[in-house]
Amino acid sequence: MARGTKNRHVGIVGIGETKFSSHREDVNQPEMIHEAVRQALDDAGIGIQEVDCVVHGNMELFEMVHQPDLWHVLGTGAYGKDSFRITTGGTTGGTLVCAADNLVASGMYDVVLAIGFEKLQEGHTTGGITNMADPLWARKLQSGALTDSAAVKLIEEFGPERAKRAAMTYRIIMDQHACLNPNSHRAFGLDWDQMDDLMADSPPLIGNLRLIHMCSQSDGACALIFASEERARRMAKRPVWLRDHITVHREETLNLCTNYYPNNPTHRFAAEQLFARNGIDDPLDYFDVFEMYDPSAWWGVDWLRDFFLLEGDAHLKLVEDREIAIDGRMPINPSGGVIAANPIGATAMVRVAEAAKQIRGDAGPHQVPKTVRHALASSFGGTMWTVLLMLEDELNGWGMP
């Protein structure tokens, strides 16, 4: 897509995440947001007066609050400041990062605070998502984000036994990661010997999509502070640079009710474009960690093929060989991913936050046990929309003089 030269570089200098939970009766919406804001400010070592602009996003119908940045000013720190509200669905958190990047790169602001949040216990998540469908047709048919289309596709292609085992292997690895992450909402401590029981007994939601496969419905917020190169170098011991990002939407009439393949090429299209323009030939080799927006274990497995531009059953093998585990060749979601915690408006930003922590090397118990220099983070929303972002430990690539 047509574009110019990046006006200036942008780094992440502060990271805040609340604990993710379905038990946040103790805080209202702005109070929960403030927990993440406070953490991000402390992490960056700055006060709110150093922030020039606040960017806010979530989905209004999950909590039924109209233009909620107005009320949330009680916790965001936006009082007296410039502020924006930018959203795109489940991709919102990724879009907020892109927006903060644009706002700082433009030279308008030196320091931008971006906040993604959702308090899903305050509404009905599946009902809220169903409401995204056309009121005259699909709203009658859709069940939120629940679909077993990925399961159908994998089963058709690889047979039920191999496909189901791959999905459950993915699920157990994610749970093992979640158990390492003190912020995660769901961490069961699943063991490999439970595999067969889980495949047979977890309550089914739709077809072969079972409760155990599906992402959680969480309360939580994430805040990230972005700064211009000059300010970032002064502020942070180790700024994490936002190298590039790409957003790819697709028409709403994407019919999940088809197993004609390929029917969701946005992830692959985004990856192809992003890697090509950054000169990356072998993404599996280039990236050290990938934080993926994986709404279910089935999608997680299926999408590995798209994001890493793989063919055949290479993506299944990555899972079967447990190369996606935290100590594997390509660690996927050392945080536990979206199945472990999913406050939707924050979820995609949490992917970026977690990827940035991995690069800084301070992710805590779920730090990948190798040097992380290049991280990939994805967002998913709408009707198969993609935001894909690259984070690096040093300035590289697009926009370099």
Binding site: E156, H185, C257, T258, N259, Y260
Partner: protein, 282 residues
Amino acid sequence: MTTYFGVDVADVIETMPSRFRKEAAAGISGRFGYDLGEAGRWRLAVRDGDAALAPAEDLDDCLAVVATDPQTFVGIQLGKIDATEAMALQKLTVAGDRGAFGSITRLFQKYLPPGEEALPDTELVVLKQTISVGQTFATGPVMGRFLKGLKQKKILAMRCPVCGRLQSPPREICAVCRVRNTEWVEVGPKGEMRMLEYVYYASPDPLTGETRETPYGAIGVLLDGCRDEEVFWHLLNPAQLDRVQMGSVIDGQVRHGSRLRPVWAENRTGSIDDIQYFELDD
């Protein structure tokens, strides 16, 4: 000491008597067992608003016994793990009187790990409401013509003048070619089952606020005259959920699915409800 989620399991157990809410226990008495695997077996005796907890050899004399592993137990106490889900995963079972056990779980204040500021015994206020705003949805000329077609038992699609793709329900433009759709085509009404979403999970319908009946089948039908992904999204006769066969196309290999036909509503008003559902065309 065995810790889970950074919490000592013994601390969770031993603080149970101090977390007991006497005022809520009026009229409840009985013995309840906790079989916590390597964290041991415990008997909770409740009587006249008092509670006593002691280790136990066997729990045969208990009204109900919950069996779980210490990690799940601590996880539930901390809100890390959802109890219903743990039961679904068979990580927690209740033997005996489940109802009685359910009633005693409400007798304890939430466990707080040592060092976390103790909550004063404040109630956390919750406000439940259904918010409903009436809407008038416009069809516009394109969706309007399609919906009017249903009144006459016709399923209409629009064809892209550039790529020839059919869309039903139709769109104003073809998103791929970025041109207005111009040509109307009648498709179906019979077709082939391409995809079934077998829905077990009951969720509210935001158009009515009512909860949907489950199970139901949302289906993709490849109507006669359509190809590839040009499927039509509707519902399946719920009685036939287990009798249909999906079709597929993989690498050009076609496998045919069940033949389906629409069942039209008696009174058709020009809406999605004009088709009740699709059923097997035996």
